[in-house]
């Protein structure tokens, strides 16, 4: 469904995304993990059209989407959320979601109905009349999800929708994301919360210093020495193994 090949983006001398290739198939939830500064958000920005890549290819449903502006990419069926939530602060929660819903209809009544429906699905049913800037962090993350979902995407790019939430809130969002997937939306998510990655993703890509260093199922990834070293530093995998052997 989504095919990324050899995608690169450098800021000055820093290769933020370096020859990254990944693919996401239909009916999948794929996670993208990696230490802070690995280039995950830049990769998302490149796919969604917010940053122009230096090279490589992005194809979606068999068509080239690289270099298209964000609104055209949204029209192709890719919606993203923002890691740092970007609510329309002075609009109500319902109006926020309606902006997304207007992507599929010109009629106010339909947009309202659709926004109410999506709002309920993500658990914002009781906050619809609140101003968006009055929401808690957990509420704002839900709002990001709701707005993107309201555009009726085929592929959702979720950028850390669970960061900063407590375990109960994470559990709720996991349930919502799973329900979205069951409704037929393909999901690529950036996530640090491993509880969520393990319970949601079928496949995981690990990004470090702009490169994909490993991919596989969550359990395969968790045991991969290069992944452990990317997070804990060189030699960490060996020391961990030694530690276990001694115990």
């Amino acid at each position: 469904m989504l095919e990324v090949k050899g995608l690169s983006k450098a800021f000055g001398g820093l290769a933020a995304v370096d020859q990254v290739s990944l693919d996401v198939g239909a009916q999948e939830i794929v996670a993208l993990i990696g230490p802070n500064g690995a280039g995950k958000t830049t990769l998302f920005a490149c796919i969604a059209g917010f940053t122009r890549p230096d090279g490589g290819r992005v194809r979606f449903l068999g068509r080239d989407v690289m270099g298209l502006p964000p609104h055209r990419i949204c029209a192709r069926g890719i919606a993203r959320t923002f890691q740092i939530t970007q609510p329309f602060a002075r609009l109500s929660v319902l109006e926020n979601i309606m902006v997304g819903a207007y992507h599929t209809t010109r009629l106010r009544r339909e947009a309202t109905a659709q926004a109410v429906d999506v709002g309920r699905r993500v658990g914002l049913g009781r906050q619809l009349d609140m101003r968006a800037d009055a929401l808690t962090l957990a509420g704002r993350k839900r709002l990001e999800l709701a707005r993107a979902l309201a555009t009726r995407p085929k592929l959702l790019l979720l950028d850390e929708v669970m960061a900063g939430l407590n375990p109960i809130e994470v559990e709720e969002i996991v349930g919502i994301v799973r329900a979205i997937k069951d409704a037929g939306v393909v999901i690529l998510l950036i996530e640090h919360v491993m509880q969520a990655v393990v319970s949601l993703a079928e496949r995981v890509y690990v990004l470090s210093n702009g490169r994909i260093i490993a991919s596989g199922s969550p359990t395969e990834i968790a045991g991969d020495p290069s992944v452990i070293e990317a997070y804990l530093g060189p030699g960490a995998a060996a020391r961990l193994k030694q530690g276990r052997a001694h115990a």
Partner: protein
Amino acid sequence: MTRQGLIFTGPGVIALAAYPWVFRSNYAINVGFLILFAAYLGQTWNIAGGFAGQTSFGHVVFFGVGAYVSTILQTTYGVNAWIAWPFSALAGAFTGWLIGVLSYRAGLKGSYFALITLAVAEVGRIVANSVPITKGGLGILVRADPRAANFQFRDTVWFYYIALALCLLAMVIAWQLTRTRFGARLAAIRENEDAAQALGINSFREKVKCLTLSGALCGAGGTVYVQKYLYIDPSIAFGVDKSVEMLLVAMIGGAGTVLGPLIGSGVLHVIGELTRDLGNMLPGVSNAQPLSIIVYGAVLIAIVAWLPDGLMGLFRRRSKDGHHA
């Protein structure tokens, strides 16, 4: 619009229509005209600056272009004023489109956009001052021939009603912005342009559309001004003070609200009229003009400090409404 809003609409319109029958003096009708006309121009600013967040410091450029286009068509080419009127709107629309395309293509936002509009209006003033077709600094006099067919009226009350009609038209358009997809998209762009684009909004196109609409309405206002005073010159057509007044009435009343510009204009003009008398009463003050400017300034500071959402913000805080009343 809220239910409250709808309940006030009918009586409000009737009161405005009845005003010249209650206050029959020329003075009162002229003040009424000035309030409605400033509210109209303020609303055209509000459509771009309030609803879409495209704050312009040079909105007068649309007014000036509109004023000159219909006046030159009349005086140089002998076109009837009524027929010339739509061309003012077209010229205003074209100016809005051009400024929008150029500055948004260049990615200018916020204060940069504001400064560009200010600069464009100044360029307009300098050009009008120096080219022969505008008769330069002398200005253009329209030959007085007060017949309705010439868009000139002996009784100023007709201009009052024209201003009222324009004001209501602009309010209906603004009201539509609170309940249509176009309006929702403008609000999204105002609040967060990146997020708007992520949700499929072509922000460039929507902003250009908005500025074109605002320019068309503001340009149409230019003709009305010239037909009432039968004179236009570069500093009237492109003066900074008019730009400031447009954004001031909208901000005092409440930027991004339907009623804001009308309320702001009413308050500002009433204060202006009162302080003019105050100035004459104070000993040693010979020219009241600076005093009213000081009062305008003080009002603006007070609004920004205590009522950032304008006077409409007071109502909204009480009725706990969403952003769109």
